[in-house]
């Protein structure tokens, strides 16, 4: 998908305050020179750092017990093994390195689950940058270990108290900081969202996932997968997992969204008890791009909900919205309970504790494996260590049946 005009069909664009436009243009220029044209060997350095610092390539693993369970070959792309514990570092490292090439001095970022924040903080420590991370106050309380990791890596964590205090508010706040300090600061956005060139650039940094996986599938399975599953919040692991397969017509692409507790919405309160913007959202403009959004009739953005903070966002990357409109990708969703069950299933059966975000992809596999062909590739976008507290609380609250006895932990890990 060429993006020279910053558009993916009707989606994308650059809807930002004028103060940011010059920075965005500067970034566009840097993106073209360094990322697209490997000027000064940027991409070589990026790939090398991904390898040495990040631990790439990550394996594509044949999931023996799931394959048996579903009577088809299931492969897992193990982004949980990336440094920091999620695919997020692919992007964070790319952008922080780009900021270095651009001569910026300061990095800011927003974070929801804290995974992008920790990835950015790690990349900043690695490349010796000052780093400030905006995080909703509510998320700070839901994801304390990640907050602590950011601080340990030397980042400042700025609590955002407006609104419900989640990712949406954190992005808005980071844009405000950027608008104020645009001259020396780069905003490392955490997913394939925001104004052009972010969606294209983040996709390019993340597409190493499918680049490797495609090659690994050829080698290990001797074939491309019939379908690729990835959870979708903003959609960066999703686009990363899809990118190199988009031209392979035989490969079905499934973006698994958070169905939350229900797909319905409460217009009155402006609350959607899900984060399924691809499945249920309408076209609109948010955080710099035209895309699919959870919004009310008037266009006010809804508060989204998901048991996994990382999917808890009312928007989605414009390119994904485009691929869905073009019928190239299929938006699906699973609810909170199914995700929790999948969390326990994968942990128990494969010895891989997934992030709750990731668990959504496996929940879809559980419920729909019969439609997915002989060979399925699931992107394990991250590990679940960050979610242990939530899992304890939510498993108990919901009476998830396939969970182990966790009574010694009721009340939390301490």
């Amino acid at each position: 998908m060429s993006t020279s005009d910053g558009k993916f069909g009707r989606y994308g664009g650059q809807y930002v305050p004028e103060a940011l436009m010059p920075a965005i243009e500067e970034l566009e220029d840097a993106y073209e020179r360094y990322v697209l044209n490997n000027e000064d060997g940027f991409m070589d350095e990026f790939r090398q750092r991904l390898r040495d610092f990040g631990g790439r390539p990550t394996p594509t693993q044949y999931a023996e017990r799931l394959s048996e369970r579903y009577d088809r070959d299931v492969y897992m792309k193990r982004e949980d093994l990336l440094h920091g514990g999620a695919h997020k570092l692919n992007n964070a490292l790319g952008q922080v390195l780009l900021a270095k090439y651009m001569g910026k001095e300061r990095i800011i970022a927003e974070t929801g689950a804290g995974q992008h924040g920790t990835a950015t903080a790690m990349a900043c420590a690695h490349l010796d940058f000052d780093c400030e991370v905006y995080m909703g106050e509510r998320d700070i309380n839901r994801q304390r270990p990640n907050v602590f990791r950011m601080k340990i890596n030397g980042a400042e964590v700025n609590p955002v108290t407006v609104g419900r205090g989640t990712l949406k508010e954190a992005i808005s706040e980071t844009m405000r900081d950027w608008a104020t300090n645009v001259e020396d600061t780069h905003y490392v956005i955490g997913s394939v969202v925001g104004p052009h060139p972010f969606p294209a650039m983040v996709r390019d940094f993340q597409s190493v996932i499918s680049e490797e996986a495609r090659e690994q599938m050829r080698e290990q399975a001797g074939t491309l997968p019939d379908s690729v599953l990835a959870c979708a919040g903003g959609g960066s692991n999703t686009m990363g997992a899809f990118a190199e397969f988009v031209d392979d017509d035989g490969v079905d692409l499934y973006a698994v969204e958070a169905g939350g507790s229900s797909l319905s919405v409460d217009e009155e309160k402006g609350v959607a008890p899900n984060s399924a913007s691809l499945s249920t959202g309408g076209e609109g403009v948010l955080h710099g791009a035209r895309t699919k959004l959870l919004q009310d009739y008037d266009g006010q953005i809804m508060e989204s909900h998901s048991v996994s903070s990382g999917l808890d966002y009312a928007g989605v990357g414009p390119e994904l919205a485009y691929l869905v409109d073009e019928n190239r990708a299929t938006p699906v969703n699973v609810d909170d309970d199914a995700a929790l069950e999948a969390f326990h299933r994968l942990s128990r059966m494969e010895g891989v504790i997934p992030a709750l975000e990731t668990a959504h992809a496996f929940a879809y596999l559980e419920n729909n494996h019969e439609d997915l062909g002989d060979t399925v590739l699931v992107n394990v976008s991250g590990r679940g260590d960050k979610d242990l507290e939530s899992v304890i609380e939510e498993t108990e609250k919901r009476g998830i049946e396939n969970a182990p006895d966790m009574s010694m932990f009721s009340g939390g890990l301490r």
Binding site: Q14, K168, V285
Partner: protein
């Protein structure tokens, strides 16, 4: 048919901003009317959007109050119709509300502009709509003879300036400093530079972001601005009144007073200009 050019016709324009519906519909009407009494030449009416990415905490909080008070685009248009003021009115909001207006089957963004013209609005400022993305709105504005105000930031230069110049009408909103809205106790030196870059534009230049006192207003107009835009300093008064449980009248009085201080400041600044520019 926009009445904005008139506002700049004789002397500097004082352009106050309030979030409509803050803290409630009725009070908000009184507050806007008080601004006119205080000397407003144009009034920017904020239609609250849930993600005001260009606003500082003062206006963010006003937006939250207005939304909690039930403000919607539909109510906003009712509000404008009900208002008893005689100055040009500019709707300041974010693009998604303009784009979504009228539901899935409406012609977008024309439906919003049509309605705006109908209720008597004169133009728009849309902080998250840069010139590059503005064609559809520009066309609708042209159709209904409304103005489309653009913001020029301290970072705006070269080609970007030209693109804006092509699109802008009514006035150009000169952002006095980087950052988000909010009252400051100093006035940025970036303003002079910005005004300099725009000196040959034939659209009035109104300076905003951080103006708080009559003195600020005076200095900025003395420096060459054709108008001043003041938001947070006024919203602060609304917020304070709300917190203290003051009556809407008391708050309206204070707003009027503040407006007068600012508009008089602007006049004073204008008087200081040498050579004294001719009033056209």
């Amino acid at each position: 048919m926009s009445r904005i050019p008139e506002a700049f016709a004789d002397g500097p324009a004082f352009i106050p901003y309030l979030a409509v519906g803050d803290p409630d519909y009725e009070s908000s009407i009184e507050y806007v009317e008080a601004l006119e009494r205080g000397g407003a030449d144009v009034i920017e009416l904020g239609l609250p959007f849930s993600e005001p990415i260009a606003e500082g905490p003062t206006i963010q909080n006003a937006v939250v109050r207005a939304l909690e008070g039930g403000m919607t685009p539909t109510r906003f248009f009712e509000f404008v119709e009900e208002l008893d003021v005689d100055v040009p009115l500019v709707c300041m909001t974010y693009y998604n509300l303009i784009y979504r207006y009228g539901g899935e089957r409406a012609e977008r963004p024309r439906a919003f502009v049509e309605k705006a013209a109908e209720v008597g609005l004169d133009g728009f400022v849309v902080p998250d709509l840069p010139a590059e993305e503005a064609d559809p709105l520009r066309e609708a504005c042209d159709e209904f003879d409304l103005d489309l105000v653009f913001i020029v930031a301290p970072t705006t230069e070269g080609q970007r300036l030209e693109r804006i110049m092509e699109q802008v009408s009514g006035y150009v909103y000169v952002q006095a400093r980087l950052g988000v809205t909010g009252a400051r106790s100093d006035v940025s030196t970036q303003t002079d530079e910005s005004l300099g870059r725009l000196s040959d534009w034939d659209v009035p230049k109104a300076v905003g972001f951080g103006i708080k006192t009559g003195e600020h207003a005076e200095r900025i107009v003395a420096g060459g601005a054709d108008g001043i835009i003041v938001g947070s300093a006024l919203v602060d008064i609304v917020a304070e009144g709300h917190e203290n449980g003051d009556s809407a009248e008391a708050v309206a009085d204070r707003l009027e007073q503040k407006a007068r201080e600012l508009s008089e400041g602007a006049e004073k600044g204008f008087a200081q200009r040498t050579p004294h520019p001719e009033r056209t």
